[in-house]
């Protein structure tokens, strides 16, 4: 960075006033006997965005905390940081190269959708069973492995989409069986600490599955063939295809943004699945029952819903969704028994960011994390380190979130699940 001092001093200024704001705003609201639920967040945002100029009037007036009061200062603070970065490093691709920025954002969005889908499975499990599944990454890995084995090894020539369906079916069964065998003690109060039991038992499953796959299939990298090739398109005309140009493995929009085929296909499948899932959750009886259980278990039981069936369905469905993301990405990445680890970590970050148990939150969180990672790898000036820190970028967002608003973006105040208070 050329003028790195500008950036670091600005960041320090923001952090300082953010901390001051978060500490004192809560006290001010507490003293005036007002609702303090989001005061830390608001204080931090206003402090970071406007410094003392914003904080002092707020402490005097103590307005009711609204969404506007959080979002506007939030975006202002983000704008200040971006401006400081632009001033500090005017040569950076993120500042000077428009098509680079467009490509990074597109990439971030596309991969974010896939992350979001995977996290959705995790949050679904949490909202019904009240446990965090630590085997989510292994379901992802198995999904990919099944597609590879079914389309390349067992039945060469099988269409990948059928492979994806097989993967869904098998992982759904795996999830259901595991739930029946190992998670049932959760429901009848036989376990004093269900949350911890849930974490440990799924952790054990993850460990076993990963080594099982490695022992059976070895750990050579494998990869499925591309599901579809792009048709050859040149628009608006053949000579000057500025709008859209495709080759088999790539699509170029506006001569600047290039999207690779496997990612595009994976994100399209993700969106379709998401739509299907929404339809299922909001339009079918089973889906409605599932949501009812997540909102109020006892009431749902009274209404004639068997919560045990819903537990099984939720765990199997959640695992299947993770497997589906893996199944669509096995054409984009080389696959190993260890691949689940990083996406699993990312899903954790996403669900906490979006709010544990919130379905839309998971999706929004996925896109945010996709963009943050793209910004991190794209903008950090030192090329030697930019990508080494990929797992850390999401974690920074997560830490901020836990400090400022532990319930996450769209989290319910008291995420319930099976066990009431968590």
């Amino acid at each position: 960075m050329e003028y790195s001092a500008i950036f670091w001093w600005t960041a320090l200024w923001l952090i300082f006033w953010g901390v001051v704001g978060s500490i004192f705003t809560r006290r001010v609201y507490l003293r005036k006997d007002l609702d303090t639920s989001n005061s830390i967040l608001v204080g931090a945002m206003v402090g970071a965005a406007f410094g003392p100029i914003g904080l002092v009037p707020m402490w005097i007036k103590t307005p009711e905390i609204s969404r506007k009061l959080i979002l506007i200062p939030g975006f202002v603070a983000l704008g200040i940081i971006m401006l400081a970065f632009a001033l500090a490093d005017p040569e950076n691709n993120c500042v000077s190269n428009g098509s680079f920025v467009a490509s990074q954002i597109t990439n971030g969005l596309i991969i974010g959708i896939i992350y979001g889908l995977m996290a959705l499975g995790l949050t679904l499990i949490f909202s019904i069973l009240g446990i965090v599944s630590f085997s989510h990454g292994e379901f992802y890995m198995i999904g990919g492995m099944i597609v590879y084995y079914s389309t390349v090894v067992w039945f060469p020539g099988l269409h990948p989409v059928i492979g994806v369906l097989i993967a869904c079916l098998l992982t759904f069964l795996l999830g259901a069986i595991f739930e029946r065998l190992f998670l049932t003690p959760l429901y009848d109060g036989r376990i004093d600490r269900p949350v911890e039991y849930g974490i440990l038992i799924t952790f054990g499953l993850a460990f076993t599955l990963q080594y099982f796959v490695q022992a059976i299939g070895g750990s050579n990298p494998v990869k499925a063939k591309r599901f579809f090739d792009f048709p050859r398109i040149r628009l608006p005309d053949k000579e000057d295809p500025w709008l859209i140009k495709t080759s088999r493995g790539n699509m170029e929009l506006f001569d600047t943004v290039s999207i690779s085929n496997p990612r595009f296909v994976a994100s399209v499948i993700s969106i379709l699945v998401l739509l299907g899932l929404l339809y299922f959750l909001y339009r079918t009886w089973t889906g409605k029952a599932l949501r009812a259980v997540s909102q109020d278990r006892d009431a749902a039981t009274i209404a004639g819903i068997n919560p045990h069936h819903m537990n099984m369905l939720a765990f199997a469905l959640g695992g299947m969704i993770a497997a589906l993301s893996g199944a669509t990405l096995v054409q984009a990445f080389s696959w190993l028994p260890q691949v689940g680890m990083i996406p699993a970590m990312r899903s954790f970050v996403i669900v906490v960011l979006g709010g544990l148990g919130s379905l839309p939150g998971a999706f929004i969180g996925g896109i945010i994390i996709g963009l943050v990672e793209a910004a991190g790898t794209g903008c950090v000036p030192d090329p030697q380190k930019a990508s080494s820190y990929i797992p850390a970028y999401g974690m920074i967002v997560l830490t901020l979130m836990l400090l400022l608003r532990p319930t996450g973006l769209l989290g319910r105040r008291f995420a319930s699940g099976t066990h009431g208070k968590l």
């Binding site: 691709n93 190269n97 680079f100 490509s103 990074q104 990439n107 991969i111 390349v152 490695q214 070895g218 750990s219 050579n220 990298p221 494998v222 990869k223 063939k225 591309r226 493995g249 790539n250 170029e252 290039s258 690779s260 085929n261 496997p262 990612r263 984009a332 990445f333 080389s334 190993l336 028994p337 260890q338 691949v339 680890m341 990083i342 990672e373 793209a374 991190g376 790898t377 794209g378 090329p383 030697q384 380190k385 930019a386 990508s387 080494s388 990929i390």
Partner: protein
């Protein structure tokens, strides 16, 4: 519930008896030789399995010829997992539990760096097969030998080839942040800049799967030539994702890591990987000597692969050279084996193996750096290129240097 009587003296005696009665087995046959290979992640399993196969073939061939000192040899393969601390522990296990008299193999540089001290302090000779980091021999330890090329030397071939390719002005180096990748990247950058070619180095974590962000950054640098120093699946992932984004081997000149020589895995993982360049250790198959041809045939039959990889050849020879040294030393004593190794002339599958520098002659006498200590000076390094989609690695076109050339390189622009 009654009281439990415990007879303490009896327990103690029992324990004592158990340990005293176990006798150290004093058998001298078979002679055990250790073999290091990464057989589980995060190590490079593909490489490790190839090396294991080759070392077992070496064991079979040596025993078929009557073994060593009238005994059969037994190659004890150990999994290093590619982790330095595991490697140190495994080296210890090989020496103390299995009682090996010498050790061959070795794939990851970090494994070599960490395990060499253990072996050296216990006086067990090691002939490293595929660990490139210069410091392994650069520490001039008495018991450490190497038949793999030096990192600085292999990097030299890579950057010299890049520098002589037409129209290369800016190069991007994508490297893993390990002690193989970082020094190699620095050496390449240094060499390229001596030819007036600018370069940018991108470092990545070895577990990285999604390279989209990095690929865009590389693209923004508008390189004429990419040098990828990523081992295992990371190299496949980067190459294919770069190809998807339009800066792959078919779009710009592209040096892929030698993991690409595993042609079956390469074409499965990098379907758009045609025209990539790779560095290969050892002479081309057409120039193989008789023993190499026989080994290649056996290896292909056993593994179902199209050809034998260079690290498998090296692993085979590391065991072979140790066996001959034990024979010449006439004993399994470490010091005797070292003396034999320093004087050895072994006709291996890679060619004639010898170690010109050692306790008799310091490398500095010839004005060479300390990394030439106990280093085989002759491994051939060639640049090869896939020129047909789906081509097996043994028919790859050798494009550099002149001596071995079998065809002209195809430069894309």
């Amino acid at each position: 519930m009654g009281k439990i009587k415990i007879n303490i003296p009896r327990i103690l005696i029992t324990i004592l008896v158990i340990f005293v009665s176990i006798q150290a087995y004093a058998a001298n046959c078979p002679i055990k030789i250790g073999g290091l290979a990464p057989l589980s992640a995060p190590g490079s399993v593909t490489g490790g399995e190839a090396m294991r196969e080759a070392m077992l073939l070496a064991e079979r061939d040596i025993n078929a010829k009557g073994g060593v000192l009238g005994c059969d040899i037994d190659v004890v393969i150990t999994d290093t997992e590619g982790l330095p601390e595991k490697a140190a522990a495994m080296m210890q296990k090989l020496i103390t539990q299995d009682g090996v008299v010498a050790v061959g193999g070795g794939y990851h540089s970090s494994v070599g760096v960490a395990s060499k001290d253990v072996a050296n302090s216990r006086g067990i000779p090691v002939v490293f097969a595929e660990t490139w980091n210069d410091t392994i021999t650069g520490d001039m330890q008495k018991y450490i030998f190497r038949i793999a090329p030096l990192s600085s030397w292999a990097s030299g071939v890579i950057w010299k080839f890049a520098a002589q390719a037409p129209g290369v002005k800016s190069v991007v180096i994508v490297t893993e942040n390990t002690d193989y990748g970082i020094p190699a990247a620095e050496e390449c950058a240094k060499g390229l800049s001596s030819k007036g070619i600018s370069s940018v180095t991108f470092g990545v974590d070895i577990g990285t799967q999604d390279f989209a962000g990095i690929v865009e950054r590389v693209k923004a640098e508008r390189p004429d030539y990419t040098i990828v120093l990523l081992t295992g699946e990371a190299g496949y992932n980067y190459t294919q994702q770069a190809a998807d984004a339009g800066i792959g081997p078919q779009d710009i000149m592209f040096h892929a890591n030698q993991a690409g020589l595993e042609s079956k895995a390469w074409w499965e993982n990098v379907p758009d990987g045609n025209l990539a360049f790779m560095a290969r250790i050892g002479v081309p198959e057409t120039m193989y000597n008789e023993s190499a041809l026989k080994l290649a045939a056996d290896y292909k039959a056993n593994t179902g692969k199209d050809g034998i990889e260079s690290y498998a050849l090296e692993a085979y020879d590391s065991i072979g050279v140790i066996a001959q040294a034990i024979n010449e030393a006439g004993s399994t004593d470490g010091d005797a084996i070292v003396t034999a190794l320093e004087n050895i002339s072994h006709d291996g599958v890679l060619g004639r193996i010898y170690f010109p520098y050692g306790s008799k002659k310091s490398p500095s006498e010839d004005g060479k750096g300390s990394e030439w200590w106990h280093q085989w000076p002759d491994p051939a390094i060639t640049m090869v290129q896939y020129q047909k989609e789906g081509e097996p690695s043994n028919t790859m076109t050798i494009v550099y240097p002149e001596v071995y050339k079998t065809g002209d390189p195809i430069y894309v622009d």
